[in-house]
């Protein structure tokens, strides 16, 4: 089955087409542009481009997989609303995957790893994966030092992801070069069992992890001296 994969939880705007069969997952086309401020402009043309690369019309899609974040909200929503509306228009199921899993799962090689992406405000979105790539802690958002302390407790041997590069000094862990951003093949693989089983459509609820910045209206200030 041909599956569209999108992720906009990091500065990397990702669209890919993956062939998901009993034999496994094969990425047929992918586009990735790194621009933290242009998710809205970039994603739809990239979806169009991967369809053209493979030479199929949208009606050839059998399912859509989207990275649920966590990630900066405005960009994250672009991927999720694109996936949800396309799923609705095509009448195909949508499946969500924690975006950090598509960084931590492919990085796991027998020992625990910390996967981190940039959460701005001097914080990271992070999770810890065991040697087999299973998430054991997270996703959470916190200062890099907090994540570093948890990682030490869990005997983590390496860090991975864009957020790990940015805060390598604080994390005090060797940082793997790749993957820096969610890998399309991993997103597809993490949803493959659901796709193969024809699992029901999932609502694509973002992993915000933070409440909106808003303060209830305070008492009014006097205008008289």
């Amino acid at each position: 089955m041909l599956v569209l994969v999108v992720d906009s939880s990091t500065p990397a705007v990702i669209a890919a087409l993956a062939q998901v069969t009993a034999a496994g997952v094969e990425v047929r086309a992918q586009r990735c542009a790194v621009d933290a401020r242009a998710h809205g402009e970039l994603l739809a043309p990239q979806v169009d481009a991967v369809l053209a690369d493979v030479g199929v019309r949208p009606s050839a899609l059998g399912a859509i997989v989207a990275g649920l974040g966590p990630g900066p909200f405005t960009g994250l929503r672009v991927g999720l609303v694109t996936a949800a509306t396309m799923g609705q228009a095509l009448g195909v199921p949508t499946y969500g995957v924690c975006s950090l899993d598509a960084v931590g799962f492919p990085a796991a090689a027998g020992e625990p790893v910390l996967a981190a992406t940039d959460a701005r405000r001097r914080e990271i979105y992070w999770a810890v994966y065991d040697g087999a790539g299973q998430r054991v802690v997270g996703p959470e958002v916190s200062a890099p030092a907090v994540a570093a302390a948890r990682a030490r407790d869990l005997a983590v041997v390496a860090a991975v992801g864009d957020g790990a590069h940015r805060y390598a000094a604080t994390l005090e862990l060797p940082v793997a070069d790749e993957p820096r951003y969610p890998m399309p093949v991993a997103l597809a693989r993490l949803a493959a069992a659901r796709i193969a089983a024809g699992a029901p459509d999932e609502p694509l609820t973002p992993l915000y992890l933070r409440r909106p910045d808003a303060v209830a209206a305070a008492g009014r200030k006097s205008v008289l001296p």
């Binding site: 369809l51 405005t74 929503r77 672009v78 609705q88 008289l224």
Partner: protein, 354 residues
């Protein structure tokens, strides 16, 4: 007529998720989901709260609109979406949604101006708009006076608020009087029992010295402060606040300025048609005063019914339908959300993008 364009419209510029379906000038569906209650305790729209609500609401609202209109995405000729002006994060959800539908259903997408859409919605009620027309657009987010020469290609901004939007002033005065958010409907209701001449509140930018530079501009910040002062003085003196009189006198001042300037624009441009839109256009005194005063100059006032005045998807679909009929080129898929989209841009055409 079956050969008229069937257009979907998506609106997410503020706190309403709207999806409308229009064929030509006929409204087929107008589905709306509002996050207004979620903003009430903050006394104003919280952008992130609005954006989250749009993401949750867009798919169900689209389903309702399609069902109400009895059409499918495959049937439509084009998808129009508000691409600006408005709240950046909120606009982005609608623009990305429109592109998702456009890519999946292989339809053209039109990124349109929210204010031009407020003008276009009147065509659903009163048919094609005579051009040129003057448009007065007043809401919680905007207060503008426009010369509409050609709704498909360009409008000319004449003036706008230099501080608060008219609707914002309604919200702030309502809060001052202990009335709920959004304030417009509550002020309108209270004012019916009040005397509009009870208190002489100021009319911003109407003095001779202001008219030279700001003939068609508005200012409501001074009025808001004047109301606050008046109310506070009463409170300090331990006297009761005559809520109905304050509401009526405040409303009268706002309407007087809005209608006065709009009719001045009509007369000085020799225009016989005034279109009023935006949430404040639902105000009963504004509508009545416009009719009354315009009649003196043989100016025809066109005001859509209140539900079409506030933000909705039908207005976007109405403008989209007008653009398709006029042969305007659609937008490209790299269409951005533009929170500061200029009024002179009615729609973002593909040619401009390259």
């Amino acid at each position: 007529m079956a050969d008229e364009p069937l257009v979907l419209g998506i609106e997410t510029s503020c706190d309403e998720t709207g999806v409308g379906v229009v064929r030509g000038h006929t409204l087929l569906a107008d589905a709306l989901a509002s996050s207004v209650e979620q903003h009430a305790r903050f006394g104003g729209v919280v952008p992130e709260v609005a954006s989250r609500a749009h993401l949750e609401a867009i798919v169900p609202t689209m389903n309702r609109a399609l069902a109400e209109a009895g059409v499918t995405l495959a049937d439509v000729d084009a998808i129009a979406v508000t691409s600006g002006p408005g709240l950046a994060g909120a606009l982005l959800v609608g623009v990305a949604a429109a592109k998702g539908y456009a890519v999946a259903a292989e339809k053209p997408v039109y990124g349109v101006n929210h204010l031009a859409a407020h003008v276009a919605v009147d065509t659903l009620e009163h048919g094609p708009l005579p051009e040129p027309a003057i448009a007065l657009l007043v809401s919680g987010g905007h207060s503008s006076l426009l010369l509409v020469d050609d709704l498909a290609h360009g409008v000319t901004p004449l003036g706008a608020t230099i501080d608060d939007a008219a609707g914002e002033a309604f919200d702030k005065v309502a809060r001052l009087l202990g009335l709920p958010f959004p304030g417009g409907p509550y002020i309108d209701r209270e004012a019916r029992a009040g005397d509009p001449a009870a208190i002489a509140f100021p009319r911003g930018l109407t003095a001779a010295k202001d008219l030279a530079a700001h003939r068609y501009d508005f200012s409501f910040s001074g009025l808001k402060t004047a109301v606050a002062r008046w109310v506070e003085r009463r409170q300090r003196a331990g006297e009761p606040i005559p809520v109905a009189d304050v509401a009526a006198s405040f409303q009268e001042a706002v309407c007087d300025v809005l209608i006065g300037k709009a009719l001045d624009a009509c007369r000085s441009s020799g225009v016989q048609t005034l279109v009023i839109g935006g949430g404040v256009a639902a105000n009963s005194r504004l509508r009545a005063m416009a009719e009354q005063r315009a009649a003196k100059y043989d100016i025809r006032v066109r005001t859509p019914r209140p539900k079409l005045c506030t933000d909705n998807g039908a207005m976007v679909a109405a403008l989209g339908s007008h653009l398709v009929a006029a042969g305007v080129a659609p937008s490209c898929l790299d269409l951005p959300a533009d929170s500061a989209m200029p009024l002179t841009t009615v729609s973002v055409t593909g040619e401009e993008q390259t």
